[in-house]
């Protein structure tokens, strides 16, 4: 096996010691759960419950709203209070349709048939069960997992990569999951292999998690197709393209998907969710969340019912120490700020961080001195300084010519920039602007097509009218002639 050095990357202060040794605790049920119908990439789920309805834990609240979508289930038993807009865990802080659930305290599961031997299931049935359980990518992207498992049907997948990198600082939820439930993770990986029809799986764990590595190695020892690989601790090792490059020695061609080269990447927490869904017939209704940061009294790893407001997690961890300078969902490199603590935890939320002023070291951006640190840090091989200079003045096409579309938004460039330039923000702006312009172009194109079709139709009608008139005239003339003779 050929391991390539990761290009660029950075090594931020890990800060994992704050919560790495805290065993997973089950968060008590909050008074209310706010379960958004959109917790994934794709179409939102469509509500199938009505206000006032009683539901059991695991019961369907919303069915998948299309091919690229995922269903949403009740995280506990209780009563549906209503369905309405509630602030979503999204950078925009905008509201989405949300089911409000009042727990009854029984936390009673609905009955569901458990397969005796899931390995006797056909591959497509495994994927179907995963889809029905609402499993999505739990590393943060929240891409519906069954869609990726179905790819095994249409093309040959030779390697399943399980991402246990957890390269974001502070986060330890995957680490704890691998340490405490290695058997379930390994079982989930084996089920995924079966669904994909793939011959081998590589479970990649960063070198800074020796306990997780040992636990998984032991759990996977009995299974030949599974190999646990220690990867260097370097951000963004957990990025799909970078991990594939490191493990297979090959790059995903620009514009292609990893599946095109026979590689599928899933997160470890997703593997665990697949195990729960297929082996125990339990839909995805909770996840492990790391609560950490200098402004949190007692950092912890919590098993949280989906829909729990962030405030409940903070309260459980002893509240804030001083005023947090920044409240984040996700890691410090790619996570986003939260508008308030009423935002609910969803399937892709891996961490709640309350960072103190010292930790965020806010700075006013200064002029770029072209030092090239961003170029050295970029794992993709871009020239962030050139892209930023063009994005800043609105020359988004210029930024595009420098490879904007290949940017993975990892934030390594902004992390090292001595001038404190918010490069990632410039690139997000430029990408949005490009998308908006492309859409406007398509719209104009479409309008033009409609207009020219109308023109053509009008011209044709006029022509036909003229032809008919001429014909009638000729007929009349012929008739007149006939009468004369």
């Amino acid at each position: 096996m050929r391991f390539l050095r990761l290009r660029g990357g950075v090594h931020p202060e890990e800060q994992k010691h704050r919560s790495a040794d805290r065993a997973i605790e089950v968060l008590p049920l909050p008074e209310r759960l706010f379960v958004p119908l959109q917790q994934h990439i794709g179409a939102p789920a469509e509500a199938v419950v009505r206000p006032g309805e009683r539901v059991l834990k695991g019961q369907l609240l919303g069915k998948a709203g299309g091919g690229l979508s995922a269903p949403v289930h009740a995280p506990t038993s209780g009563r549906v209070l209503g369905i309405g807009p509630h602030t979503a865990p999204h950078p925009s802080g905008l509201p989405v349709a949300t089911v409000v659930l009042e727990p009854d305290g029984d936390d009673r599961w609905q009955d569901a048939p458990v397969p005796l031997d899931p390995f006797a299931l056909e591959p497509e049935h495994i994927a179907a069960r995963v889809g029905a359980a609402g499993v999505v990518g739990m590393g943060g992207a929240a891409f519906p997992s069954h869609v990726k498992l179905d790819l095994g049907m249409s093309r040959r997948v030779h390697t399943l990569i399980i991402n246990g990198g957890e390269c974001e600082p502070y986060l330890t939820c995957d680490d704890r999951l691998m340490r405490e439930h290695p058997g379930a993770v390994v079982d989930g990986v084996r089920l995924m292999l079966r669904a994909l029809g793939a011959p081998r799986a590589l479970i990649a764990v960063e070198a800074n998690k020796p306990e997780a590595l040992a636990a998984l190695t032991e759990a996977a020892a009995a299974f030949d197709p599974l190999q646990v690989v220690r990867v260097p601790t370097r951000y963004p090792m957990g990025s799909e393209k970078q991990l594939i490059q490191f493990l297979t020695g090959r790059e995903v061609p620009a514009g292609a998907r990893s599946a095109d080269m026979g590689v599928i990447v899933h997160n470890v927490a997703t593997a665990h969710a697949v195990h729960q869904a297929v082996r125990r017939a339990r839909p995805l209704v909770s996840r492990i969340v790391t609560v950490s940061g200098g402004a949190v009294a007692r950092p912890a790893n919590l098993e949280v019912p989906l829909g729990t407001p962030v405030q409940a997690l903070i309260d459980h961890c002893g509240g804030f120490v001083g005023e947090p300078a920044r409240l984040l969902l996700g890691g410090p490199m790619m996570g986003f700020t939260l508008p308030d603590t009423r935002v609910p935890i969803t399937k892709g939320s891996n961490g709640v961080l309350a960072l103190s002023r010292d930790e965020v070291s806010p700075r006013d951006p200064g002029p770029c001195i072209r030092c090239g640190r961003c170029v050295a840090a970029c794992p993709v091989g871009l020239l962030p300084l050139e892209m930023a200079a063009r994005s800043r003045v609105g020359d988004v096409e210029g930024a595009e010519r420098f490879g904007l579309a290949d940017c993975i938004a990892c934030g390594s460039c902004a992390y090292v920039c001595p001038a404190g330039i918010p490069l990632t923000q410039y690139f997000n702006y430029a990408k949005g602007e490009l998308a908006a312009r492309a859409q406007a172009r398509r719209k104009t194109e479409f309008t033009r097509e409609l207009a020219s079709a109308r023109q053509a139709r009008l011209a044709r009608e006029a022509e036909e009218k003229a032809a008919a008139a001429a014909r009638r005239k000729a007929e009349r003339a012929a008739k007149a002639k006939a009468n004369e003779s």
């Binding site: 997948v157 020239l383 902004a414």
Partner: protein, 356 residues
């Protein structure tokens, strides 16, 4: 908890490596201090006067330009870039240069070298070298009068007379730099064997007991500063190695070919402003390429030009010219030598989709 309203999302990343422009500038300045203090010790009070006058002129010019551009004066003045420019310039000037050389140099460096282009980060040419070359062309006499201090360096009062030119500098107190001396001897038809005999010794050049610009004499202390810059990751080794490597390679080749006409690599590496240029001037981030391959080409170009100017050009020393010429090539280098993008070939086309 209370949050500011309305809610303004802050962009990721929310962590930072901690490097800052100000810290970079002051690290470079600190790395320059040993060599410049050695110069002050070696050439006495006039050298200190020159450092201070040049710095003051640069800072005043910077402040005036910032005010004209309606930018906040103190934050920008405090980033240390104007001070660093002035310091580098003064270190490349003859140590007993009169006050107006320093004052004019500081003014030119900041005004024409940097601020007319829009300030920090916008200038195509190294400001210190731009000012030095402008001074050299406009005032060739003052810029090539090299102090040869007596055993007892002048006291403070005498130094004022030198700095403010109230008395002419006696010929006994000046001399030629090694590169200048070698050039003169060669033009008289002498071989380097006689020209360098007694005029050059490796240890003296290494420790810095030679004539030259204020801060370029001690190879040892400049190397020490270079080590500090590399260790603190302010610069990478690419440019210095490329500059020194290409000079050493060319000097060795020609020296083997004709040792009487071409000085060896030791003479070239330890003389003049080469080391200062390689570690502190060619590495200026603003005016050098931003990719490692570009930096390699840039450094090699600087070295080749230094050697060519010293050997066949009209001046005995060519570091400033070489750096400026390569500065002019930097946009071109940056345009052509880009890193390969992940998933694409060198021409930016997507890699072929292989059959799995």
């Amino acid at each position: 908890m209370t949050m500011e309203h309305p809610y303004i999302p802050l962009p990721s990343p929310h962590a930072h490596a901690g490097a800052s422009t100000t810290r970079i500038m002051f690290t470079v300045w600190l790395a320059l201090l040993p060599a410049s203090l050695f110069g002050v010790w070696q050439f006495g009070w006039p050298a200190l006067n020159l450092l201070l006058i040049t710095s003051a002129a640069a800072l005043v010019t910077e402040a005036a330009c910032l005010r004209l551009a309606e930018k906040p004066v103190l934050p920008f003045l405090g980033d240390g870039s104007a001070l660093l420019t002035a310091w580098l310039l003064a270190m490349s000037l003859p140590p007993w240069a009169p006050w107006w050389i320093g004052a004019l140099g500081g003014l030119l460096a900041v005004l024409l070298g940097k601020q007319v282009f829009g300030g920090l980060g916008q200038n195509p040419f190294n400001p210190a070298m731009l000012a030095r070359v402008a001074l050299l062309i406009a005032f060739p006499l003052e810029m090539t009068t090299w102090a040869a201090p007596p055993a007892v360096t002048p006291g403070f009062v005498e130094s004022l007379a030198i700095t403010f030119q109230t008395v002419p500098l006696p010929d006994a107190l000046t001399g030629a730099t090694l590169l200048g001396h070698a050039r003169t001897e060669l033009s008289r038809g002498h071989g380097l064997d006689t020209a360098l005999a007694g005029a050059w010794s490796m240890p003296e050049a290494f420790y810095g007991f030679t004539l030259g610009s204020l801060g370029e004499t001690s190879a040892l202390l400049i190397l020490l500063g270079g080590v500090v810059l590399v260790a603190t990751r302010v610069i990478s080794l690419t440019i210095p190695v490329a500059v020194l490597g290409s000079v050493a390679l060319l000097a060795s080749g020609f020296h083997l070919f004709d040792p009487l006409r071409y000085a060896g690599p030791g003479v070239h590496l330890l003389s003049g402003g080469l080391l200062l240029g390689a570690f502190f001037i060619a590495t200026d981030p603003v005016t050098s390429p931003s990719t490692p391959r570009g930096q390699l080409l840039f450094g090699a170009g600087c070295g080749a030009l230094v050697y060519a100017i010293r050997t066949w050009g009209g001046y005995p020393e060519g570091v400033a010219f070489a750096v400026l010429l390569m500065n002019a090539a930097t946009p071109l280098i940056d345009h052509y030598l880009r890193p390969r993008i992940y998933g694409r070939d060198r021409n930016g086309r997507p890699l072929p989709k292989e059959k799995p």
